[in-house]
Amino acid sequence: MPLKRKILELKKRKEEILQGGGEKAIAKQQAMGKLTARERVVALLDEDSFNEYDLFVEHEARDFGMESKILHGDGVIIGTGTIYGAPVAIFAQDFTVAGGSLGLMHARKITKIMDYALKMRIPLIGINDSGGARIQEGVNSLAGYGEIFFRNTLASGVIPQISVILGPCAGGAVYSPALTDFVFTVDNISKMFITGPEVIKTVLGEEISMEELGGARVHAEITGNAHFFAESEMECFEQIKKLITYIPWNNTRKARRFEPKDPKPEFNIDDIVPGDPKQPYDVRDVIRSIADDSDFFEVQEYWASNIVIGFGRINGDTVGFVANQALVLAGVLDVDSSDKAARFIRYCNAFSIPITTLVDLPGYLPGVDQEHAGVIRHGAKMLYAYSEATVPKISVILRKAYGGGYIAMNSRHLRADFVFAWPGAEIAVMGPEGAANIIFRKEIMESEDPDKMRRLKVKEYKEKFANPYVAAAKGYIDTVIEPSETRKLIIHALDVSVNKVVDTPWKKHGIPPF
């Protein structure tokens, strides 16, 4: 056979496999408002950059009539490509082929590309759209999941791992995204749960729709399993591309440097934070008034929004921001916000991204539900994450920093490198009202007009302690600055921290309060 004919045969074979599950299945996928696996990969990666591997893989199932079935690519696409020139490894489950179900070869393809990503030290992106384990392949499916989870864990903190949920992701399958760094979801398309509505109904008698149980909104707002929420697949891909620009390829590299840009003039740092510590404002505007081009890329925007986390750039380099959000729940720390911030701090530390912390919080959220939900254990994660982090750590105390919250928010005592405070900062063991009630309890109780006495004593306490100078006198904060100096000082702090060296005692690993 001449080579030309062999090439023709290859083309024919390829063409057939590229049909995926066939016209009918593709029409069904489209009817659900979803793109096909191949369309997704093409839309996400740079034009013509995708190279596919293992196209000709066939499944090995020999039971339940599976031996006669042809499953193109065994329901998953793997390959490499680039995003804004950065190399990435990618897999995308193809729902049109056997519902994207995971069998032995399907899993082997995924683990192959995972091994490749880890070996080449490039980011891994996984697009999940699967009905779950391929029941006909029995324990081989379970083995497949296990191999994937193991690799997720092995690669954690070495290469960035991104999960994109573009369809169902149920049962054991949800644990791979949960082990990765960032989970992207799309409204009405993403569905994640351990046990679906059917099982919940038959076993427990509770009725709930898939969307209400584990839709994108639920995971973005209630559970915190999702880091990003989009209204369409295309918006989701834009978010992924944007994220890729902020993070390095692996844990030995630095994130890509961009041309420095000044913040936009409409974000005037002097006008954002009200003087009265009881008045709310949006702390994201403070971040925008500091970050290059006023660009802030928020992570987990809708979950535990009493703390704000995300990426921005300062003087061209990526910085992770952690900030108390006075707008929501007065900016308190609680179970969820501690979890959210602690994990982000660890992410930044693993990938050499300096952390800037903006502090303005009244303390921890009071309540039986918080105490019983383990706010002690969860709150401790913040202390652990900040103490452990060796990347440059800069704090700016905008307003309140009371009690345990002050310590947790990257205080000097947890080895912050720089602690700046604005003139309105109040660094104290607790808020003036609470403190006055305790210190002057006797005077207030014995007074003829306790309310008046209380007001008087609160005022007295405020004047004495509600300022940054008591802490500055002890060296707990490095300097008191004008808000307009903030960006300049952060740039300087980052410049002098470039060669930061920290000695930590040898350990296999610590025991964080998981």
Binding site: G205, E221, E231, P280, V328, P366, E433
Partner: protein
């Protein structure tokens, strides 16, 4: 946040100092100080804590009553079998935790009950 995604996005770029006047804002007390603030859906949805009532026997998981071994008026001793309750494919023996007299049994054999249902009451 309690607002949906769209409105939230539209509102965020420029926030005025008078923002707290908005009716969405609520009062929250932390260590004696009152703050004007928004709240989260999750915080609104949280279940309020109730002191446990010792005389009520509640299901801690949804399931099915397989067998009822006592009736109202029975005197029971610790360890006595009260009922068999199946949940998650496991048939659990519900034993009497302390001596007393059964005031009411609120379930029948074969009945499916939700979590937190008062199965029986002591006098």
């Amino acid at each position: 946040m309690t607002q949906d995604k769209k409105t939230n996005k539209a509102q965020s770029p420029k926030v005025k100092t008078c923002i707290a006047e908005h009716p969405m804002f609520k009062m929250m007390v932390v260590e004696g100080t009152k703050y004007r603030t928004l709240t989260t859906r999750k915080n609104e949805m949280r279940t309020k804590w109730e002191a446990p009532k010792l005389k009520e026997l509640k299901s801690f998981i949804p399931g099915t009553i397989i067998k009822v071994a006592v009736k109202s008026g029975d005197r029971v001793e610790p360890g006595d079998l009260l009922m068999i309750f199946e949940a998650m494919k496991m048939q659990n023996k519900v034993l009497c935790p302390f001596p007393g007299v059964i005031k009411a049994v609120n379930v029948k054999e074969g009945e499916r009950i939700p979590k937190g249902f008062v199965i029986a009451e002591y006098e």
